[in-house]
Symmetry: D5
Subunit: 146 residues, 10 copies
C-alpha cells in the first residue's frame, strides 16, 4: 500500500466515523497539524503512533505500515493555485525578505529550520470577523564557518 492509497483509506474512515483531525490527533496524543500531515503522506509516523491511529480508526495493518514509511515529499505546482494555499505563497513572496531582515537581526546569519519545526492553527473569535492564527516554531540554525 503506497501513501496515496493510505490517505484515501484514512479519508474514507474519517468520513464514515465522522471524525475531525482534531479528534484523531487527540486520540493518538499528537497535534492536529502534524497528524494531518502524516495522514496526507507528508510525514512518517513512529510505529506506536501509527498503531494507535489504526486501532482508533479501525484501519488494517497496511495503513499502519504505510504511515511509517519515510515519505518522498513532492508537490507539482511551483506556484499553488488553490486560493487558501496561494495566500500562504503570497505571504512568502511579499514578506520573505522582511522575515529575513527581522529574523537575522534577532539571531545573526542563519535560517529557521523547516525540519526541526512545528506548527499550530488557532481559531480567534473577533466581532469584525474571526481570525486564523498560524504559529510556526522552528529551530534557528546558524551558518558555520570552517
Amino acid at each position: 500500500m503506497d501513501k496515496v492509497a493510505m490517505t484515501e483509506a484514512i479519508i474514507v474512515a474519517k468520513k464514515t466515523k465522522n471524525l475531525s483531525w482534531e479528534q484523531i490527533g487527540e486520540a493518538i496524543g499528537m497535534s492536529p497539524v502534524w497528524t494531518t500531515s502524516a495522514c496526507l503522506g507528508m510525514n512518517s509516523m513512529p510505529e506506536d503512533t501509527a498503531t494507535a491511529l489504526c486501532r482508533f480508526m479501525e484501519l488494517p495493518a497496511e495503513v499502519s505500515q504505510a504511515l511509517q514509511e519515510y515519505p518522498t515529499k513532492v508537490w507539482d505546482q511551483a506556484v499553488p493555485t488553490d486560493p487558501l494555499i496561494y495566500r500562504l505563497y503570497e505571504i512568502v513572496g511579499v514578506y520573505g525578505p522582511t522575515l529575513k531582515e527581522v529574523i537575522q537581526e534577532k539571531f545573526g546569519d542563519g535560517i529557521m529550520s523547516a525540519i526541526d519545526f512545528n506548527m499550530s492553527v488557532e481559531h480567534k473569535a473577533d466581532p469584525k470577523g474571526d481570525r486564523v492564527v498560524v504559529t510556526m516554531d522552528g529551530k534557528f540554525l546558524p551558518y558555520k564557518a570552517w
Copy 2:
C-alpha cells in the same frame, strides 16, 4: 524618488545611526515586521507614520513621500533561492494541503486573508538551540454563494 531608492536611503541611514528594525518600529509606534516591510517597499505608510519615521531617521521629505506610495508588489523568483526564504516556501509546499484541511475544518470553506493580516517574529530561548517563532494572524474570509 521610487521605492528602490527609498529603501537604499533608509538602509544607509539605519547603518549610519546603528539602528535596528525593532528600534525603528518602536519609534513610530508600529511592529517591527510591518515597519520593515514598508521600508523594503512592500507596504504603504500613512502620512503621519511616514513623517515620524523620517523625522526619527533624519531622512528628507521625498523618502516620506515614497513611503506613502501604494506599492506594486513584485517578486522575481517563483521559487526563492535564499535558504531562509526557501524554507518558508518549503513549508507552504509540505504543509499547504495540511493547513487547508485544518483551517477549513475549524472555519468552513474559505481562506485566511493575506491582506487583513499581521505577523510577528519572536525569539524563544531553548537549551537545545534557540527557536524562531513566526505568528501569522489573518481574517477568515468565507466563500459566499450567490
Copy 3:
C-alpha cells in the same frame, strides 16, 4: 465520488434532460454563474442547495455529497489556451495595472476580494453585433498597518 465524476454525472443529466445552466440555477434559487462553478467543481454547495439540485436533476445522493465537499481549486495552464478564456487572461495582462490605478484611486491601498465576490453575465443586443457583459462585484479589502 470525487468532483470529476460529479461533474460528469451532472453534464450527462443536463444533456439528457435538455437543461440550461440558467434553468438549473433558477430551480435552486441561485445565479447561473455560481451554480455552474459549483457543478464544475470550483465551489462548494450548502447542503440544502445541493439537495435541491439533485432532486431537480434526479441525481443520486453521492452527487449531492460531492457538491458539498470543499474543493481544491486547481488549474493546469498558467496561460490558458482556449480563445474564450485567453481573452480574459489578456484583459488581465493589458488592463491589470490600469485597474490597480483606478481601483486604488477610488478606494485607497487594498484589493478587490476574489472570495467575498460574485459575478454575472448578460446578453446585450446590439445592431452592430451582440455584446457580452460580465460584471464582477467584490468586497474591497484595505491593507492594514500593525
Copy 4:
C-alpha cells in the same frame, strides 16, 4: 519619446497638479479606465484626444506624439504577483471554464472580444464593507465555418 518616458511625464504632471484619473478622463471626454490605459501605454489615443490631454495637463507635444503611437502590449509576468492583479488572474483561473459555459450557452460557439471591448469600475457603498464593481463589455464574435 517612448511610451515609458511618456508615462513618467504624465505621472509627474498628475501628482504636481494633484489630478485624479477621473478628472483627466473627464477633461478629455473619455472614461477613466480607457484614459488610464492609454496613459500607461496600453492603448493609442486619436490625435485630438492626445492634444486635449496635453493641453489640460500642460505637457509638451512629444507626449502627445507618444500617446498616438500604436503600442506593443507586453507584460513580463505570466502569473502576476501584485495581490490586486493576482486576484483578477485567480478569477480567470477559477471562473474561466464557468464563463465559457455560461457565455456559450447564451451566444453559441465563439468568444467575447478583448479588442471591441470596454470596461468600467464603480464604487458601491455597502455597510458590511464597500464593494468594487468591474464591468466588462465586449462584442461577441462567433466562430465561422468555411
Copy 5:
C-alpha cells in the same frame, strides 16, 4: 463520446475507406482545412454538416453529436516540437513584429481576428521544388476608445 474518441473514429473510417481530407470536405461542401480542424476537435460543426459527414463516412450518431460540441481548445506545447508546426511558430517569432508593422500601417491600430477567420492551403508546382502556399484571411478588428 468525447472529442478524442471522435477523432479516432473518424481517422479509422478515413483510412478504411481510403479517403482524403479533400474528399471529405468536398462531400460536406466545406473547405478541407476547416473540415480537418473540426475532425481533429478544434472547431464545432453545425448539425447538418455533422450529419452529412457521418452519413458520408458511415459513422454513428455519437460522432455527429461530438462534432457539434463546442470544443475547449487546448495545446500542451507552448513551443511545438514537430518540425512542420515549429516552422510556423518560427515564422510568428521571426515575422510577428514585421506583420504588426505592415498590418497596422495598412489598417490602423487593431488586430487580425483569429475567430472571424479562414485559411486555405495550396500546392504550387515549381521546377526548383514545389511550394506550399498558406493563405490566412481574418477580419480586421480596430481597437475602440471609450
Copy 6:
C-alpha cells in the same frame, strides 16, 4: 553600429520623412514585408539593396553596413503577449496539427520551409468589415531516407 541602433535610425528617418514601409519597399524594388523584416533586424540585405535604402532614406553608411550583417534571430517571449502577434500564435496552436494533416496529404512527409520562404499582406475591402489576408509561400522539403 548594431542592429538595434540601425532599427532606431531607420524608424526616426521614416517618421521624419513621413514614409511608409510600402514606399520604402517600392523604392528599393523589394516587397514591404521583407523590407520591414530587414529593417527590424530579422533579415540581412544584399549590399546593393542596403545602399539603395540608405540613399533613399538619406542614412549614413553604417546603417547600410548593419543592414548587411547576418542577424542572430532572437525573441524573448515563447508565448507573445501583444494581441496582434498572439492571434498568429493562437492560429499555430489551434490549426498547427490541421495544417500538418492537410500539407502532408498534398505533399507527403516533409515540411514547409521557413527559410526558402516569402510572405505578403493584403487589404481586402469587405462591407461587413475589411479583412487582412496574409499569404505564406514556402518550399516543400521532403524528409529523405538514407
Copy 7:
C-alpha cells in the same frame, strides 16, 4: 497500432532474435541511424522498406503500416536529462554560436537543413580511449530576399 506499440514490438523482436540496429539496417539496405530513428517512431518508412523490415524481423503487417505513418515528432524535455543526450544538448549550447559563425562564413546567410539531412556514427579506435565520431550532413538553405 500506433508508433509507441510499433516500437515496443520491434524492440521485443530485436531482443528475441538478438539483432543489432546495424544488422537491421543492413538487411533493409539503409543506414543504422535512419533505421533506428524510424523504428523509434521519428521517421516514416517507404512501403517497400517497411515491408522488408517486417519480413526480416518476422513482424505482422500492422507494424509495417505503423512504420509508414508520417510521425508527429514530439519530445517532452526541453532540456534532456539523460547524460548521453544532454552532452549533445550541451554541445549545441556551447558551440551553437560558433557553428553559426563558421557555417555562415563558408556559405553566406542561411542554415543547415535538419530535413534534407543525414547522419552517421563511427567507432574510432584510440589507445587513449576509443572515440565516437558523429557526422551530420545537411543541405545548406540560403535565406532568400523577395
Copy 8:
C-alpha cells in the same frame, strides 16, 4: 577586460583587417571551430596561442589575458530561437534517443564526452545544393561500477 569586451575587440579587428575565422585559425595553428569558440568566450586559450592570436591581429595584451581566462559557459535560451542553432537543437530532440541506441550498441553503457571533444565543419559541393558537413569527435566514457 572581460570575455564580452574581448569578443567585441576581436570582432572589430577581424572586420577591419578583413579576416576570416579560417585565416585566424590557420595563423595560430588551430582549427577554425575551436579558434572561433575561444574568441566567442566559450573556451580558454593556452598562453602561447593567445599571444600568437594577438600578435597576428594586432590586439593588446589584455585581449590575450582575457583569452586565457577559464570561461563560465552560460547560455540564456534553453530552446534557442535562431534558425541555424534551432535546427541543431531539433536534431538533438529528434535523433537524441536514436544516437543513444546506436552509440551504446557500438560502445556499451556510457556517453560521448563533450569535454575531450573536437568538431569540424566542411563545405561539400553538390549539384542539388551544397551541403554542410559537421563532424563531432568525442571520447567514449564508459560508466563504471564501484
Copy 9:
C-alpha cells in the same frame, strides 16, 4: 519487465527479507550507493552482478535482465522538492561557482566527470549531533584545444 517494475520487485523483496542496501551491496561485492542506484534504475549492472543480486534476493531472471539494461536517466523536477534532495540542489546553487574556482585552481580548465565517478556515504558520530559525510570522487577531464 521495465526498470519501474524491476525496482518495485526489488523493494518488495528487500522488505520481505528485511534487508538493507548495505547488506545487498555487500552480498554482491559492490558499494551500497552504486547498488542502490542500479536497483532504482539509474545504472546498469554487469551480468554476473545482476545474477548474484537475483540469487541473493531470490528474484526471477527478468529482474536480472532488467538490471542489465542501459537506463535512460530521466528526472521530472528541474528543482527537486523533497527536502533531503533539495538540500543537495541548494549546495550546487550556493557552492557551484565556488567549486568551479577551487577545482580549476587545482586542476586547470576542465570538469569533474559524473561518469567516471563514484560516491560514498558515511555516518560520523558527533556529540553535538551525528553527521552525514558524502564523498564524491570523479576523474578530472581537461578541456582540449584542437
Copy 10:
C-alpha cells in the same frame, strides 16, 4: 559597497598579487572552499576574519564591511549551464533518490543540513588520470513529531 563590487575588488587583488584561494584561506586560517564562497558573496565573514583577509590582501575597509554583510543567496539558472556546475547538478538528478535511500537507511527519517555544513576539495593523483574528491559533511537533522 555591495557584494558584487566586493567580489570584483577581491578578484583584482588576487590576480595582481598572484594569490591562490588556497593561500588566501591559509592566511586567514580558514578552508579554501569556505573562504572562496565568502569572497564570491555566498557566506558572511566574522569581523576578525574579514579584517585579516583585507589586511593580507591590502584591501580597504569597505571590502571588510561587505564581507561581513549577511548575503541574500540568489542564483539565476534553475538548471546551470556551465559544464563543471552542470555535472554537479546531474549528480543530484541521477543520485538524489539513491542518497535519500542510503542516508535515511543509516540515520532514519530526516535530512543532511546544508547550513550546519562544510565541504572540501582534494586532488588525488591517479596514473589513469587525476581525480577530484569532493567531501560534504553536514549535520543530520531528524524530522520531529509534535
